[in-house]
Symmetry: C2
Amino acid sequence: MAENFADRLLAAVRAKNAPAVVGIDPVYSRLPAQISQHRELNDENDVEAALDAVLEFSRRVIRVLAPLVPAVKLNAAFFERYYQEGTEAYFELVQEAAAHGLIVIGDVKRGDVGHSSQMYAQAHLANPDFITLEELVAPDAVTVNPFAGLDGVQPFIDVARQQQKGIFVWVRPSNASASVLHDFANAEGRTFCEHLAQQVAEWGAGADLVGQAGYSCVGAVVGATPDHEATMKLRAMMPQAIFLVPGFGAQGGSAEDVAPCFKSDGTGALVAATRSVIYAYENPEYVQRFEGNWEACVEQGCKDFVAGLQQTVTITQ
Amino acid sequence: MAENFADRLLAAVRAKNAPAVVGIDPVYSRLPAQISQHRELNDENDVEAALDAVLEFSRRVIRVLAPLVPAVKLNAAFFERYYQEGTEAYFELVQEAAAHGLIVIGDVKRGDVGHSSQMYAQAHLANPDFITLEELVAPDAVTVNPFAGLDGVQPFIDVARQQQKGIFVWVRPSNASASVLHDFANAEGRTFCEHLAQQVAEWGAGADLVGQAGYSCVGAVVGATPDHEATMKLRAMMPQAIFLVPGFGAQGGSAEDVAPCFKSDGTGALVAATRSVIYAYENPEYVQRFEGNWEACVEQGCKDFVAGLQQTVTITQ
């Protein structure tokens, strides 16, 4: 792993011809009946039984996705909901995805003042420094909340530098209500979001953070929105940042909305789809086509997601 | 627990005559030698041994603090660092502190877009809905990161309303580097921090959220800084919010810095000290006075913290 995270990610995107990541946000009540109605897993009131079902589902989804996309994004919230067993399951899935050759992004949105962020960076991004856990790998990258400024982000950058990992600093949420905060503008019309983007560009600009392709291991989470001009501004302000782009598919973002996150050579963004892929078996069209085989539905959902992106973006490098 | 969280907290503050909370942020390397050098706990490279030491320390600190302060604040970062066992230990300490009659604040700084925040609110604030965990209690309140706007905070407010719990929305970090973001100002000179404060005041204003004393279960984390005028503005903008005030003691905040967080009747704020109390045995003055008895040092550190606050603030209600 002696390679800058951005270079590794770009190579993986090229290898699969897919600037795509699938989010794993499993909710018990939406699991396929074949899993949730399995007699030993069929109890949503029992934390271990419910989690076993979630874990079985997630493992099988990862196996289906592995040949199709370069990366998966595991959302910690959906595992923390199962207490310590959920934390264990989250790290089990990190191992499982890594073993399948996937780049693993931990969507943890952590961030606090410096000494707390140090602990979060140890917990979620650094490989364990305990000899009793030396076979455990942490995610290749995590999402970071920049609310406390550089002081709270630096511990994650330090781990990324030391261990050839990456971070995606949350710059623009994909939900509408966030605009009340992020569109707050100064006298020159610059928004808070743009002000933050400028900071993130500076935080990631160090020569020891930027890989051979010109991208930094400090990326940015930039939600897809219909305001393409705003996205193009962010793209120009953070030329070295790979954008992790949520909001595609079930959250309403279209291929046109994600296009401005890419540079003209087709690099620069990793688009995330979650519910439209992992719950593809809820789509009547797929159900009919694959006669209720839920894994075939997920596979097709992922293929359609990737094909949609390939129509939008051509990677020329 | 059929009482608004703000009313419960105020009653607890009055009962101890101490608008004070002690933060539990245990770091292995700073544990007292009597614990870290205990032969069975003496291995910082073994995750379980290290965590056992951290847990033993934290339990004994909680026992020492229980008669002196109304609340403790457990910082999740310092436990997550020990993986699933750390999550288990965190919830064990929540039970321990609750059993001692303390109000427990989970300092988790969680926040994401809506569906993820729902999961975080279930994970960290709601009492478990699993029948196999029905004896487990979650913290009475948690800190919340508002980066995604109301959409990301609402799930926590919903749990607070339904279960008579509380939240403290992070409005102003206590670290200097945060000001690059939070002092970003619009054409009228209003800062991002003030803009956010205005939102938080609105989010917490619902009649079903405000208790008999006029305070909401939606409070605010407002770091102590030397800019007292800025603090007074925030105090005026969020009249129904109880301020959770970090930055006192080891982080450099003085009694004068926290004073503007209180209203004239002495209510409205809960001041947090962490390292100056839980590591009081590193203070040579205490060590000499108590002949190296680390728990006596922590007790005196806490008493001195509370006495300092009592000199600053008189609770008249």
